[in-house]
């Protein structure tokens, strides 16, 4: 169970922090140019952080006590494959979800 003080501190902190990130350049820098190296790093935020976040959850899911789970691994691989082939976010989610439930039904 999440403690309420923790929850509201996190909500307020991320809310303020996210607005600060959005306002950083638009609001404070105005129309001065930005260093190239900074933009170059920021460009890779999403593709670096999101896979880093989920990689351990895919290999060692907390729901199975950290044991690798074939249906979940397979679902992740199918979502990855469909995403790469079709470039469709919705298609990858659906394919991954269907594989997960098919796998849980077969192996479960």
């Amino acid at each position: 169970m999440i403690d309420k003080t923790t929850l509201w501190t996190v909500i307020a902190g991320i809310g303020i922090g996210s607005f600060a990130l959005r306002f950083a350049f638009l609001g404070l820098v105005g129309d001065r140019p930005l260093p190239g190296w900074l933009l170059r790093h920021l460009r890779y935020t999403a593709v670096a952080v999101l896979p880093a976040l989920i990689a351990p959850l895919v290999l060692w899911p907390p729901a199975t006590g950290g044991e690798p789970d074939p249906p979940r691994l397979l679902a992740a691989l199918v979502a990855l494959g469909v995403g790469l082939l079709t470039r469709s976010v919705l298609g990858a989610i659906l394919a991954g979800g269907i594989t997960l439930y098919a796998g849980l039904t077969l192996f479960g």
Binding site: G15, L21, D31, R40, A92
Partner: protein, 236 residues
Amino acid sequence: MQSIKSIYWQGMRAGAPFILILVPFSTLFGVIATEAGLNVTEALVMSALVVAGAAQFTAVQLMTEQVPVLIVLAAALTVNLRMAMYSAALTPYLGQLSLPKRALAAYFTVDQTYACSVAAYEAHPEWDLSRKLGYFLGVATPIMPCWLGFTVVGALLGGSIPDSMALDFAIPITFIAIVTPMLRTGAHRAAALAGIAASLCLTWLPYSLGVIFAGFIGMAVGAEIERRMVLRGTWT
């Protein structure tokens, strides 16, 4: 010159297809948030203040793992660093607006408003400031109510979903689906692989700190490969 009203409508038409992605995504957030113990109001306030699904999922996931507040904040804000890039990319077009209008645009800066607006501004250099803002707010119009509304729908559904639905795995699948279409260049793919490898090697670090370090390692790898590709003339 096109009227502001017609440009606002163009923006709305550009934003509308994203409803297809946002409805399941925000519903899922509502569901996962209630599963983690948030009530409807808390889930809604979080969606309204943070307005960034990936950061919200990250925060809820880490809070259920009882990770200290500072680490939760650092991880969620690292996920949201791309908002700073969007802010920087919009600055040449919207930087001349008045301060309140810049603050308004900053609040509505999300993946979709950024992507549609920058593409439209490049295609229409003749638009003046108010037309640019009109288009931007047009894109935001179908997106924001949808984001908030379906967070509530998900939060109301939340409690009624059984464990056998394996919702724990909804976040990994959704993130994979969001990231794969972004892997357009070798630099993007290398950043993702480096992030994954570093994260798997750093799981021994306490409080999921490995995720934050792995993210920065992936960003540095992507930026460095881009720099080398530019030098070799293979960057498009």
